[in-house]
Symmetry: C2
């Protein structure tokens, strides 16, 4: 604990100032309100007293884990209504995404869908008050057993019956079974269903319907609907991700969400509203995921909304930082010292922890910028201007893929930084890692999303080729394209590589960092574009041939955007920000940008250097600048993680508690494990069911 | 299922020939015996009928999971004794490492320790028959709460008491609590304990002792010993990884393992035997881990021993390959097709799956070569020649770090290749991933091991500098060192970079591939060596400053060795090997070597290209050769995974069954989940404990 105290005292800045910046913006009272909400909910669910083994580490069967999710979900939902806040709308009081509890779907999926897809008057007025007050429990039901990312493949049908003026919902095949939706198994009463709209012989493709699936009184499934749980998952076991199949279930015609397409009483189909807006639900969901990784600074800083938070990467790094500060192991580098030292003092640990901290902040600031751009998009759309939608779609897809992969890989690396102890469930890390890694897959598998980013970039280049304008935020691409035209060879030639002009401490300059990232994305994008457009193969074959390069280009573009967002944020800090905090954030930003060049972690890792853009001497310079940054930031590591303001209960980790008293915290919880108490209290230290049935017979067997 | 059938028929070689090569060597009957053992054990534990939901996917509390491990462990142990085989000595019938079941420690840790550390006559004669017959259940107890990798820091003490001629075993602090050993919690009766030997005022450091910890009759802990479980982990929950603390527990002096050091009745301490051999236990354990990743081909091919297998990476890739073959999603690359296609046909999926298959074979062949070298080491040591030990230690450390990281990252990527379905426990993948990822941490944390490899390489260079000989297997380093001396600048200069001389299809040549890997390791090793040796800092600071570069050099060396081992194996296939199989393995080997250059996945990923060794055109050539290899290997993907000969029960995966009937297999198991059966059979589809206690009150709350 002395080590932890010293590490805290060594900080060069006030961690609470950073807490305010992240959670409260200019309003410190939000930080206080937020803390109060956590305290209330943690008391209700019984985790506030951290000397007690949290229930989630006792024996939890599938049923127990589901009940634990119901308990947390109800406490958080009711606290939000009672105290009028939405601290727990996007994320749970343990910072998991809110779809990990059965009552979280209303706010994050069902209400946004109704907002965007329902007809303005009746439908919203009918359904939204019910979901917001918890009079009905919703689920968003799209994915099928056989159909995930490819929404157009959905098979569940909604056939209009002219006689009764109803839709008949039906699951024609086993692969059409709805599969995966959160809360679907046993918790929800109503669902927003995605099903093919069939009018006579015409298939109008996927549309949205509201379907009641259980009676409100007894909870029994509506006749014709089979509902159940899909079993244990790596995480998210607090909710009943479920399946549903429909055997000709009838719903009123008016239960179709008719904001953008109508079916009239006479069976006529009419497109109405703004079909472009149909995109927005999915965008919103992806935006929440970006935010789910880290706090949504934007909301808090620009509006009165309390903060919707997630911070799972930051949680795992907080635990790893604290553990690395107090865990002593070995005699220092190459065992050359005389006494054991804290593992944080080993360069590899130091490098991993600090770069992970930098990444968690990078995601924060990207999320903040996304929020800002999303606000702008909505304002433009309100005036009928949808021109930014393609840009925004690509931005969202890219940030989703980038942030989820960065967070998933980073959380796992933070876990590994804790050695064997990080493998214990009571470290809290396995649950965080398992929860984060889901996001790399759901709501748009990352490899699919990268290609959507690539498609957008190539469309921009098509426009440039045709002298059409492109989104102003892609100006860098236009410039690069023009330069390639101006060059002697006429078309972009990947082999005619440029050299990086930065030297020495230049690399710490914003401009130099941005130009490195810009060089990479333009090189990769223009090069693969030329290959695609000049290919003699069919478009489908050409795309497949260059898919890995397309993904590289998309990632390079997105990482460039992430560096822009981080550097902008650091440049535009509130005037009141202390110089100490400015200095720390500036270092973090450089560490993020530069360490990604020398130690990239992705399938296309060589893309910064493969064209000889850097000399080996330049790379060595970058390495030594990174070393300097690491050294400067080391005293701030604990403060940078304290600033997230995680309660011990929300971390739920015997390794990562604020006090740093690791070994006692570990043993205190272990002594309370049910299997131990049962053996010690009932049978003098023997776990009888194991001993009698299995060990004793083996010892006595005559083989 | 049609898709699976077609994929199987498309193979260019006979998968059973490869099965024979891996499991039976030249003896086909071993394959048959092995299959029979799996069938027997799977019937005993009740998993052979794959239409039934495996018990491990029903509601498993901590206690249930432990019982499941006892069940499997007993069945496997007894089958081995009854039918005289050791198919399940290193790995379980589900291919987890054998320390994941409570009866597995005898064979993999306790017996080897006794073999190597006990005095020749009495001690071995006393203990080995007991462990081999299961008359006692052992555990290997080294790690403490505060002391992992750094064995010298161990605090548990064994103080000799002259009067009674006993050792007094004691845990002086909370951090000295023994923590983590498999089977320690509630299953073992005896342990091999690592404790500091204290004779009078002299601390002789860690030694081995045998301590009985429970009575054989009732299983009660010996007075003074506190034993318990450390709770749920990410995996390995079939065993009771435990903790133990000792309150002045007395054992006879003769329970110290005295093969290499003796304590006489008069309290005299004497070093005996071969202290160098003290290394060997740890080496052996690490060797088993390398083998645990993939089948131990060596044992089967060179001896009569049946195969000890693990194959966890191969298991995950088998599941992913089968699922990718039958899962149809989307309209093909860039959605340009007309009908849905299997996801294997997307280039990114195709790339990931095939390179993972190549990696799993690379680990096999490395494991085989390790076994061969280990045999040689033991033979040399039997004649008193220990000169190879440092080489072998570095080889083992490097292969352990490389194979575990490759397998852990690869298994997780294979899991992600299965999208959302891979997140379900019944996919089998989460358990495999969680189990594999442990190996990157235990028995030598990888970052620590890399540095041990580096230390060895630098010692070799020290020797060369002093004109002393080095191990002949490091001849490449001697050559490179000599060249650096011969060069005009006298010392190795990292900026004076060479260029790769290969062009076009040269890159498919063994020689070209090896020279690329050799160039990288010599460049990195010599460069960081010069920096270390010329540093003006203290040795400890210099090491820490260059730690990341040291790790890069160590990895580069180990990957070079892995490529050597793979290419050698392909070159030296048995004469009877068909030309079809030769062709496939040659392609796999090239795919492994080349894809690692263009798509490396490690923290030092830029090390192949950072020095400008390749032109961009050369890299593009490698890319297109990789594309060609992928295309050639695509029809063989299913056959390459079938060849592992996994039973459906051992995969335990609803996604990865041999028949490819994924959706029906998934729903069949899901319909048998206890939570569903309970709701459907007892309450018309309502899960009452959830509904009554949590959902209904929320619906009815007045907030």
């Amino acid at each position: 604990m002395q080590l932890m105290k010293k590490a805290r005292e060594s900080a060069s800045f006030d961690s609470f100032e950073l807490t305010g910046l992240m959670h409260g913006g200019r309003r410190e009272d939000v930080v206080t309100q937020r803390r109060a909400a956590f305290e209330r909910v943690e008391k209700v669910v019984g985790t506030r007293d951290i000397s007690k083994l949290p229930r989630c580490y006792a024996n939890l069967s599938r049923e127990d884990q589901y009940e634990e999710g119901l308990r947390w979900g109800k406490a958080a939902f009711e606290d939000g209504i009672k105290y009028q806040h939405d601290f727990f709308a996007s994320t749970t009081p343990r910072y998991a995404l809110a779809n990990s509890n059965p009552f979280g779907m209303n706010a994050i999926m069902v209400e946004p869908t109704i907002e965007f897809m329902a007809s303005d008057d009746e439908q919203k007025a009918k359904w939204l008050p019910l979901t917001k007050s918890g009079k009905i429990v919703g689920a968003y039901v799209q994915t099928e057993l056989g159909h995930g990312t490819f929404v157009r493949g959905i098979e569940t049908s909604a056939t209009w019956d002219a006689t009764s003026d109803e839709f008949i919902i039906h699951s024609p095949t086993i692969s059409s079974t709805k599969f995966w939706p959160g809360a679907l198994g046993f918790s929800c009463t109503h669902i927003v269903l995605v099903a093919r709209l069939l009018l006579g012989s015409v298939d109008h493709g996927p549309h949205f319907f509201i379907v009641q699936v259980r009676s409100l009184e007894e909870g029994k499934p509506i006749p014709g609907i089979k509902l159940g749980d899909i079993g244990m998952k790596m995480s998210y076991n607090g909710t009943c991700n479920g399946f549903a199949s429909f055997d000709k279930v009838r719903i009123p015609r008016t239960n179709m969400l008719m904001g953008h397409a109508k079916v009239h009483r006479n069976g006529n189909y009419e497109r109405t509203g703004r079909p472009e807006l149909a995109y927005s639900t999915l965008l919103l969901v992806r935006g929440i995921i970006v935010r789910g990784m880290v706090p949504n600074v934007a909301t808090i800083m620009n509006t009165d909304y309390p903060l919707a938070v997630g911070f799972q990467l930051a949680q795992s790094v907080t635990i790893a930082t604290r553990y690395s500060t107090v865990r002593e192991q070995g005699l220092g580098p190459n065992s050359l010292g005389r006494t054991e030292v804290a593992i944080m003092s080993y360069a590899s640990q130091h490098f991993r922890i600090l770069t992970l901290i930098a990444k968690s902040y990078a995601i924060v600031f990207a999320s903040k910028a996304w929020d800002r751009d999303y606000e702008k998009l909505r304002e433009e759309q309100d005036t009928g201007d949808h021109a930014s939608l393609p840009y925004f779609h690509a931005l969202t897809a890219g940030l989703k893929a980038w942030s989820t992969q960065t967070a998933a890989d980073g959380a796992e690396d933070a876990r590994k930084c804790c050695g064997g102890q990080g493998y214990l469930m009571i470290s809290g890390l396995p649950e965080i890692v398992a929860s984060v890694t889901a996001t790399a897959t759901f709501e748009g598998e990352n490899y699919v999303l990268w290609q959507q980013v690539g498609r957008y970039l190539f469309k921009c280049l098509d426009h440039l080729k045709q002298d059409k304008p492109i989104d102003s935020r892609l100006a860098y691409l236009a410039t690069a394209y023009q330069e390639s035209l101006d060059s002697t060879i006429g078309e972009f030639d990947a082999t005619a590589s440029a050299s990086c002009s930065a030297f020495g401490s230049d690399f710490l300059q914003r401009g130099a960092q941005l130009s490195i990232y810009r060089h990479r994305t333009t090189r990769l994008t223009l090069s693969v574009y030329e290959k695609l457009r000049s290919s003699t193969k069919t478009p489908i074959e050409a795309w497949n041939e260059h898919m890995m390069s397309i993904i590289s280009a998309a990632r390079a573009h997105t990482e460039y955007i992430a560096v822009i967002f981080f550097t902008e944020r650091v440049k535009d800090l509130p005037a009141s920000t202390s110089s100490a905090l400015r200095a720390v954030l500036t270092r973090l930003c450089s560490l993020f940008a530069l360490s990604n060049i020398i130690n990239p972690q992705s399938i296309d890792a060589i893309s910064f250097v493969e064209d000889g853009y850097f000399s080996l001497a330049q790379l060595d310079t970058i390495r030594s600048l990174v070393d300097d940054l690491l050294e400067q930031l080391l005293p701030d590591a604990v403060a940078l993680t304290d600033a997230w303001d995680f309660t011990d209960a929300s971390l739920c980790s015997a390794l990562g508690m604020y006090d740093g008293n690791v070994y006692e915290n570990l043993m205190r919880w272990i002594n309370q494990l049910p299997i131990n108490k049962r053996a010690w209290e009932e049978s003098e230290g023997v776990y009888q069911p194991g001993w009698k049935k299995w060990v004793e017979p083996l010892l006595q067997a005559k083989l």
